[in-house]
Structures are given as C-alpha cells and as structure tokens.
C-alpha cells in the first residue's frame, strides 16, 4: 500500500513537472480531470469505504458551485468568503439530506439519493432570482490571490488546482487510514457485525455522508472558478451518474482509482469526441468492457484491499 501511495505521489509530481510543456488545451483538460478526481474521490468515501452507493452526489458539488457563483458575481465577494460559503453550503445540504437518506441501504439508498439530487436540480431551475435558472450564472472571475501570477492564465490555475487536489487527496488518505476510516470499512463489510461490536453505525454513516459532501463541495468550488460558469447541468442526474462511473471505472475503495477513473473519463469524452461523433458509443463500450474484464475497476484489479464485491443485499 505504501508503494501505491508513493506511485500516486510520483504521478502528481510528474504531472506538475510536465505541465509547463503542455499546450494550453490539454492543460485545461488536465485541470478539469483533477477537479473531477476530487469529486470522484469524495464519492469513493461514501461508496467505496462506507458501502453506500449514491446517485445524487452532484447535489453537493453543485450547491457549492452555485454558492461561489452567486457570491462572486452578484456580491463580488472575495476568495475566502466564497470558499467558506461553498463548503458550508455543501456541508449543510449533506447534513440535511443525510438525515433523510442514511436509514436506507443498497438500492433504496441509491433511489433516495437520486430523489434528493433531483430536488436540488429542481431548485436550481426554479429559484431563478438566485440561480438565474436555465441561463446559468456566467462570468465568474478567477480568484484574486496575492500571488505574482494571475490565476486567469491556464498554467497558474492548473498549479492552483493541483495543489488543491493534492491537499484533498492527503486529507482523504489520512481519513481512510484513521480509526474512523477503518470503522467505515467495517461498516461496508457488515453493518450488523459492527453494530454488535458496539459501534454507533448510524453516526459513522452520517459523518461519512457529510465528509463526502464537503469534499464534493470542494470540487464544486474549483469547478465554478475553472469554468467561470455554473448551471443546472452541474446538479443533474447525469453528473451524479458520471461520478459513480468514475469510481466504478477506477475501482471503488482505492481512493486513487476513482481519481484515475475521473481522468480517463474526462479525456475519453473530450479527446474522443474531437475525432469521432460516435464517442458515446465508445464510452458505453468502455464501461461494459471494464465491468466484464476488470469488475473491480482498473485500479481495483491491482489492489488487494479494494472494496470486494459486496454480499447480496436488498
């Protein structure tokens, strides 16, 4: 496992080193991949480590992105205010939804998180005075930090995102190795066993839900700044499904797997679509292929401690 960590760290450093040599379009794709990686890793906490599959994870991503958009564009708020607001919004939403969702497991958990995600999507459309509805909020300025380089340029923003991604990865890595993280894995294996051992399973799941939401929000904040634009598409079902796909592709319960899955999907979508109109078909075939030949995901196939195929549940 330590070897995997070293490899992953090496990967991050390598990416940081070659960045100045890349033309700006691949660089922006790489930035996008990093943001998606954070989003996917946050879902992995919930799915891979706690065993709760969510189809509504985009809600927290989007709520934070909207918070940044609204504050940065309408109120001209500063960077710190926006970040704090985004994280608080994501945490608050996760805390609220967690109360409703945590009692369910398996497919029912999938469904209730889907419903909650749709409610947020509906809000994004309907609350036009705040979210500008279908038009979305555009013109979000890049953050003004006291740095000698402007974050408006692709390379400085890439490094900014890389630093954020490294931070998230470190934090989540520490989390999953902590006693709390261990107990999450125990819950994933068997909730009843953990309960009989005296763990407060509900509380553990609830906290995991909120933490996952907060890190999704973290990704959402970066996304708002990166794209300069937020719209209901960021909270729609397809976005949540894509996050799930990133985790499954890379391998749930490995943390680094979902990050790789995210990068793969971002590149597949944006590179393949430049060369063929049939990129959807190719993407679909890739998903099926991966599940058939590497059912635990690309990284999961290599890791012994990845989330094993869960026992039958209702």
């Amino acid at each position: 496992m330590a070897r995997q960590t070293v490899l992953a760290a090496g990967g991050l450093i390598a990416v940081g080193v070659i960045a100045p040599l890349l033309p700006s379009y691949p660089l922006t794709l790489l930035t996008q991949a990093l943001i998606s990686a954070i989003f996917a890793m946050s879902l992995d906490i919930l799915l891979g480590y706690t065993g709760l599959p969510s189809l509504g994870h985009a809600a927290y991503f989007g709520v934070a992105a909207y918070a940044v958009a609204i504050l940065a564009v309408d109120a001209r708020a500063g960077f710190v205010t926006c970040v704090v607001a985004g994280l608080v919004a994501a945490a608050g939403t996760a805390a609220l939804f967690g109360l409703l969702a945590i009692r369910a497991t398996g497919t029912y958990f999938l469904m209730i998180t889907l419903a909650l995600g749709m409610v947020v999507w509906g809000l994004a459309f309907r609350w036009v005075s705040m979210t500008k509805g279908d038009n979305g909020i555009s013109g979000i300025p890049r953050p003004e930090l006291a740095l000698p380089w402007s974050l408006g340029a692709p390379l400085p923003f890439f490094y900014f995102t890389l630093a954020a991604a490294a931070l998230a990865w470190l934090a989540l890595g520490l989390l999953v190795r902590s006693p709390f993280g261990m107990s999450l894995k125990g819950i994933r294996e068997s909730q009843s066993r953990m309960r009989s051992l005296g763990y407060n399973v509900w509380l553990h799941k609830y906290l995991s839900f909120i933490i996952a939401g907060v890190f999704a929000g973290f990704a959402g904040i970066l996304w708002a700044y990166y794209n300069g634009f937020v719209s209901p598409v960021d909270v729609q079902l397809v976005t949540s499904v894509e996050a799930l796909l990133m985790v499954a592709l890379g391998g749930s319960g490995t943390l680094v797997g979902p990050a790789i899955g995210a990068a793969l999907i971002v590149f597949l979508k944006n590179f393949v679509s430049v060369y063929t109109k049939r990129w959807l078909l190719i993407l679909g075939a890739v998903y099926i292929g991966v599940i058939l030949f590497a059912p635990r995901g690309l990284v999961g196939a290599l890791r012994a401690d990845a989330a094993p195929l869960p026992p039958a549940e209702g």
Binding site: P23, S24, Y25, T28, L29, Q32, F125, V128, G133, D134, N135, G136, S138, G139, G152, P154, N227, G228, F229, S231, V233, D234, N270, S273, V274, K277, W279, L280
Partner: protein
C-alpha cells in the same frame, strides 16, 4: 462560376505577385488559411439542429469554394454535446490549440451568456447566428460579439401590432416554456399588444421537463380570443398534437413564437398545425429568388427542408466571409476584423436584407407566417412582412434599455 470568385482569384494572383516581388512583411501570415471555429451540438438531444447548423454553414462555404481574399477557409467544427460547459471547453480548444480567427455558432442561451466573457477575455471576434437571448445585445453586450441571427422579442413586437390591426383577437392566453426564451417571447408580445388595446388574460408556463401538456391545456381560459404558444423542437411537435386533441384548436386560434412552427419540426406535424400563425425573421417559404435558390440547394445537400437554423448559419457564414473580404483577408488584425463584422450589410440574404445596429443585433425583415398545406406539404406561408425591424421596434433604445428585461413577471399580468 461567380464573378466574385473570379475577382478573388485575380486579387489573389496579384497579391502573390506582389509578395513575390517583396511585398509587405505581413505576406507570410496571409498565406495560411482563414480559420473559422464552429460550435454546434452534434450529439445529444439537439443533434438534429446541430446538423442543420453545420449543413447551412458548409453549404455557403462550398458555394464560394472555401476561399476568400486569396486565402483558403478552414472550418473547424466542434461538438458542444448540447451543453454549455462542453461548449466552453471546446471554445478554449478552438482558440488556444487551433488558433482560429473567428468563433461562431452556439445554440443554448446559457452558452451565449457564457461565451460573452470568454470572447472579451480572449479578444476573439465572435458571431452568434442562432442564440437569441435579448440581453446579449441589450443590457449585457460583449465588445467582441456580433449577433447575426435575431433577438427573441424582435419578431414579437411587430407581431403584436399585426394581431391588433388584422384580427379581432384582443384577449390572449399565453402558454410557453418556463425559461428565458419563453418569457422574452411572451414579454415582447405583451407589451405592444397591451399598449394598443389588447390584453393578456392568462399566462401559463410549462416546466421544461413537461411532455404531457394535458394539465396545462385543461386550464386555458375558454373565453379568450386566441392562444399564443412558445415551444421548441419536440415540445412544439407534442404541443400541437395535444392542443388539437384537447379540443382547443377548434375553439381558440393558435398564435405562436416562430420556433413553434419552425421547419425543423413542421414536416413531422400533421394537419393539426394548419392555421397556426407565428412570427420570425425567416420562413422557408419566403418568396424571393435568393431564398428559393438557397432552399433548393439546401434540400439537395441535406435531404430535408431548410429550417431557420440552417439559414441562420448559411447567412452567418456569409457574414463572416464578407467581413474577411472587407479587411482584405487580414484576419490577424482582430480589431479591424471586429469592426468589419459590425459593418457588414447584406442586401440579398435568403431571409432578406440585414445590417447590424449599434448594439450588435441585426436589423432585418420580420415575417408573419401562417401554416398552410401547399402541394401536400405544410409550409409557413408569409402573410405579412415588416421591413427593417430592429430589436427595439419603434421604441427609443435608451428608454427601452432603462426598463427591465422581459422576465416571467415582467410585464406583469394585470388582466390575469
């Protein structure tokens, strides 16, 4: 071959000679192609519209032999997948990697709003042939964007006047999609209508994910004179059918925004569409030689009737080419190209004459059209033409801009 082409070839040859004789240092840059970046949805829910847009663009460029001012034209097409975030990513690719000289295309309103700051930040001359949100050229214009299509309320202002002068409809129910395109259409109709003695007696907004209009149609006030409907694409198709099935077609004449009967969906409609009266800056049935020529050429290329989307991109492509000609092909001088884009004046586009106003929006004909069956096929027969209509209609622009944008609640529904 067109005279234009001969002249271009002659000019090009002359230029080549001049360059060979040691002409201006800028000559090497001038030998590369003029690169036009086109953003269209080729996959996803709007793929059919994206295809129309692409076909329209290609038709024009092929007609001129993909050459202008002695340089080749390279069209680089990127798929927006029907979503704005992807459109932004692809726009970045076009500007940073492909080094385009002009950016064009886009379909969704959100794409228009998102590309505005992008175009200004990148200082890339940009045209919008289709995106119609009013404010893009009113209260929130961008320096580097010129609209060559239309603004949402532009056709509705004269339409309201036409309704007052040519029909007995004074109490109108509006039913439209619950987003800015719907609000601006209804607002643009409501304002002149109510100034001249008409009244909107009910406003119904359908959520964007509606596919069954029954709950809304059941609420329509039966004692009104007419219904104004604003729908796009498959929703227009379904609405027409359900309007008829609900028994409303027999009782309440149907008016509409132009997209409700646009040729992108009209062929799929049945007789239930006959009699609907709508307004737009184009109709495939506009009876001029240049439109007939265009429609024929388009049908030969695409195998279907031209919609407003394809004409928009056909003329949009011409617009860009005219601007390139005006700067003598020196597209690297972006400021000059932008200025030229704002000065293009076309007298014989398929839709009629177009020029652009100070805010970057076209001044053009508006057609009132009625759906009729001619030769066994449905068409938008032109029943009235309003020439040289601007986005402000007869209102004073400065006064107009002081008022709010048309939204869901503005103008308010006093008679509801």
């Amino acid at each position: 071959m067109h005279h234009r082409d001969l002249r271009i070839i002659a000019a090009g040859t002359l230029l080549a000679f001049t360059a060979a004789l040691g002409g201006p240092v800028s000559a090497p840059a001038q030998s590369g192609p003029v690169k036009i970046g086109l953003l269209v949805p080729l996959t996803g829910a709007f793929a059919a519209i994206g295809k129309d847009m692409l076909n329209g663009t290609e038709l024009y460029l092929d007609e001129i032999g993909r050459q202008v001012a002695g340089r080749k034209i390279e069209l680089i097409v990127e798929d927006t997948e029907g979503n704005t975030a992807t459109a932004l990513t692809k726009a970045r690719k076009l500007v940073d990697q492909d080094k385009i000289h002009v950016l064009t295309g886009g379909l969704l309103a959100s794409t228009g709003y998102a590309l505005h700051p992008f175009a200004d930040a990148q200082r890339i001359p940009t045209t919008y042939p289709v995106m119609a949100s009013d404010d893009l050229t009113q209260r929130k214009p961008a320096k580097w964007v010129v609209r060559t299509g239309w603004s949402t309320s532009q056709p509705m202002h004269p339409f309201a006047e036409w309704v007052i002068k040519n029909t007995r409809f004074r109490k109108v129910v509006t039913i439209g999609m619950d987003y800015a395109f719907g609000w601006e259409t209804v607002g643009g109709f409501q304002r002149p209508l109510e100034e001249q003695g008409g009244q909107i007696v009910q406003k119904i907004w359908t959520p964007l994910n509606t596919n069954d209009f029954a709950p809304f149609l059941a609420q329509v006030k039966r004692d009104a004179d007419a219904v104004l409907a604003l729908f796009v694409g498959r929703l227009a198709l379904q609405f027409m059918k359900q309007y008829d099935e609900a028994g409303l077609r027999a009782r309440l004449p149907l008016l509409g925004g132009g997209t409700t009967t646009d040729e992108s969906v009209l062929p799929q409609m049945g007789d239930e569409a006959i009699g609907a009266i709508t307004a737009l800056h184009y109709s495939a049935a506009v009876d001029t030689p240049q439109n007939q020529k265009f429609a024929k050429a388009f049908a030969a290329k695409a195998g279907k009737i031209t919609s407003y989307y394809s004409e928009a991109c056909y003329t949009g492509a011409r617009w860009v080419v005219e601007a390139v000609k005006a700067v003598g092909g020196k597209v690297e001088d972006r400021e000059a190209l932008l200025a030229a884009l704002r000065k293009v004046d076309i007298k014989d586009a398929p839709r009629g004459p177009i020029s652009v106003d100070r805010w970057g929006n076209p001044v053009q004909n508006i057609y009132v059209r009625k759906v009729e069956k001619v030769g066994g096929k449905l068409q938008n027969t032109v029943v009235a033409t309003f020439p040289a209509v601007s986005q402000f209609w007869k209102y004073n622009p400065e006064e107009y801009l002081k008022l709010p944008l048309y939204t869901r609640d503005y103008p308010s529904c006093k008679a509801c």
